[in-house]
Structures are given as C-alpha cells and as structure tokens.
C-alpha cells in the first residue's frame, strides 16, 4: 500500500534524524543585523555631532556682520563634508541592516528613514551637549594637521584673515591691541577700539576667541567683532 505524503515526510525526518534547530542558531543573523543597525546609528550620531560642532559657530551677529551671501560662500567652502558623507553612509548602512532583519520587510522606507534620522540627530545633539565630540576632537587621531583640516574645517574657517576671519588664543592684552596665537601658530596683533563689538564675557589672557574684522598689515588685524569661540581647542605650542 502506498504511503500518504505526510507519512513519507515523517519517515524522512526520522531516517535523516532531522531535529528542530535551536532558536539562537536560527536567529543569529537577525541579532547581528540589529547590532549592526544600532552600531551604524551610533556612529552616525557621532558624525552628526561633528557636523554640529563644525557649524555652530554661526553666531547671529556673524550673519549681521558678514551678510548672508558671504556666510553661504564661507560655509560652502568650509562645510564639514567628511562628516556629512560619513553620517549619510551610516544612515544608509543602518537602513540596509534593518531591512535584513527578520521582520525588516514590515517597515516602510519612510518609517525606517524617519526613525534613523531622529535617532542620529537626537543622539548626535546629546553627544554635542555632553561635549563628547570635543573630547574626541582632541584625540591623537585628529591632531595631525592634514586630518585636522579635513575633520574640523570650523577651525580652518577662522584661519582666513584675508576673508576677515581670525581665531585663536589671546596671549597678551594691551590698551589698544592684543596678541593672538592663531591655529597655525602665527602671532597676530589685533587692534580694537570703542567701535569694536565684544560678545565675550570678559577679555582676558589665555581665552579662545573668534574675530571678524580686516587684515590691515603683515600680521596686523583690525577687529570689528570679537566672539566666544566655537571650539575649545588650544593652538599648538611651539
């Protein structure tokens, strides 16, 4: 008598000693993709915090002083492209990872993208507020001039006296000028007057400042606006 299909299957299962696999074995890939998703979002948040760090120096008075057109030009020239590209890559990798999870197909592109952007921006903002991005920026990895220029164009933005932007540490204060050590370690004489607008709490030695003004001579700069710095990094000592 011919066996029915169900009997044949059961027989094969018994013959080949097939047993149900363990849950962990069956789900390791799923767990791996969730882990990759979380990791990429965390990395994306770090990159986003670097983007914030590199953009947040646009004080309202800078816009007033320089004008919107010039601000856009400066921003386009010194935008943190490295971090923007890496943050996008992290977001895309996270998207692909979540799609590969067991129930990834249930989520729409819009939902995954929104969640990813939300997590990256909120966590990124938190990392910025906790100053973790600044501490990381001080790390050895970013202290080589080449990598520093790419990673922190915000500092480069304030090393452009020709464009009226100068940043660094006040090393000596005089009645009508102060000396400033820039990020490239060059010492500048910065002249100020009653017309100079100060947005810093108190002018004192050893504080970092960002200055908008005009280059009027070799290593001489006339300040029209003195701002608190967008960065805490100390210029390298010679």
């Amino acid at each position: 008598m011919e066996k029915n299909p169900a009997q044949k299957i059961i027989e094969k299962i018994k013959q080949e000693k097939i047993v149900p696999e363990s849950k962990i074995f069956l789900n390791w890939k799923n767990y791996l993709f969730w882990f990759i998703w979380m990791t990429t979002l965390f990395l994306g948040a770090i990159f986003f915090s670097f983007i914030i760090l590199n953009l947040l120096d646009i004080h309202p008075s800078v816009i007033r002083q320089l004008g919107l057109g010039r601000i856009f030009f400066i921003l386009a020239r010194t935008a943190p492209y490295l971090w923007i590209v890496l943050a996008i890559l992290a977001g895309v990798s996270g998207f692909l990872a979540i799609k590969k999870t067991k129930r990834g197909y249930r989520y729409s592109i819009l939902f995954i993208t929104s969640i990813g952007v939300l997590i990256i921006s909120m966590l990124g903002a938190f990392l910025h507020l906790a100053k973790i991005n600044r501490h990381m920026g001080e790390g050895k990895m970013f202290n080589r001039p080449m990598s520093r220029g790419i990673a922190f164009p915000v500092e480069k933005r304030w090393q452009d006296p020709q464009e009226g932007l100068l940043g660094g540490k006040i090393i000596k204060i005089d009645e009508e000028f102060f000396n400033l050590r820039g990020f490239d370690n060059e010492v500048w004489e910065v002249r100020y007057s009653n017309e100079t607008e100060f947005k810093i709490r108190k002018m004192e030695e050893n504080i970092m400042v960002a200055i908008i003004g005009e280059k009027i001579g070799e290593h001489i700069f006339k300040a029209s606006l003195v701002l608190p710095p967008p960065f805490d990094r100390k210029p390298d000592r010679r």
Binding site: N4, P5, A6, Q7, K8, I9, I10, K12, I13, K14, I18, V19, P20, E21, S22, K23, L26, N27, R103, Y105, R106, Y107, S108
Partner: protein
C-alpha cells in the same frame, strides 16, 4: 508549535496544510504534480527544522505560506523558467474577478471566463501574486505582508492597482 517533541506529532500539521499548499504552489508555478510534491516535501522538512523560528507575531498558517512561497520562488529561479501561464480553476477566476470588481453578477459565461483568464494571466507577477492571495486564499493585508515580505502599504497599493488594471481590461473586453 515548539512544543512538538516527536516527529509523529508533526504529521497532523502536514495533513492539515498539504492540499492548501499544493493548490497555492500550483497557482504560483504551474509545476507538475510530482514537482509540487517534491517542493512540498522540502517545505515541510524546512518547517520542521525551523519550528523554533516561528514566533507569534504572525499566524502559523502565514508562516507556513511564507516558507512555501520562498521555496517555490527558489525552485522557479533554479529552473530559470517563470511560468507563462497559471493554474486557475474557473471558480477561482470568477472569485478574483468578482472580488476585484465588486461584481454582483452570479453568472459568467464560458467566453467571459476565457477572457478573464487572459486578463489575469497577463497581469504583471507582482499584482497577480497579491490578488491571488487576497481573493483566492482569502488572506488579510497583514497576512499577505508577511507572506510576500513587503510593507503593508505596498500590499494595499498593489491590490488596488491590480484591481484597477482588471477593471480597465474587463471594460475593454466588454466583460462588464
């Protein structure tokens, strides 16, 4: 389901789903009876092996359909032969047509049936698949979402667009 300790207990599951899945594969693939039985044997062995992978986020039936669909698609790919036609009983054809167009008419003549079959066979695969699951297998959007592994919104729009195509074609062929 994870409570199955003995292969013999699994026999009830095979018996329960065999005919339904047989028809489902036949509609999808147009394979011969022997080929479908081979696929089903592999499907049930896979179900048995993966029993611990089943979770209650979906019904057991949906999970079984999902595995069956994937196995059938793998087989179609392996043979590099997408079926040029599909296996549909007259009753299934009428079901798809009526459900797609919300038709009240009870009687559909033989000539119309051929035309309906033409319309359905010529539908792009993505519409054909979801319409068959919706109107022949009578699955909900959530179940179809898990079977074909696409977001629910995509399923809803595929069903709607498929219905519209059928409606337009039915009007062109003067079935309605």
């Amino acid at each position: 389901m994870a409570a199955i300790k003995n292969p013999d207990e699994f026999q009830a599951i095979v018996t329960r789903y065999w005919s339904r899945l047989f028809c489902y594969i036949r509609r999808m693939s147009y394979f011969s009876q022997e080929d479908i039985e081979d696929i089903l044997q592999e499907v049930f062995i896979k179900i048995y092996r993966y029993l611990n992978d089943y979770d209650t986020e979906m019904t057991f039936s949906t999970w079984v359909y999902q595995i069956t669909r994937n196995a059938t698609i793998d087989e179609i790919r392996k043979r590099k032969a997408r079926p040029s036609t599909i296996w549909l009983e007259d009753e299934d054809l009428v079901k798809v047509l009526k459900s797609s167009l919300n038709m009240e008419k009870e009687y559909v003549n033989a000539d119309s049936l051929e035309k309906i079959k033409d319309i359905i066979v010529n539908l792009p695969d993505k519409y054909k698949e979801v319409l068959m699951l919706r109107f022949i297998e009578e699955k909900s959007y959530e179940e179809i979402m898990d079977i074909v592994q696409l977001p629910k919104g995509t399923i809803a729009s595929l069903v709607n667009r498929g219905r519209k195509i059928i409606l337009t074609e039915a009007k062109n062929k003067k079935i309605i």
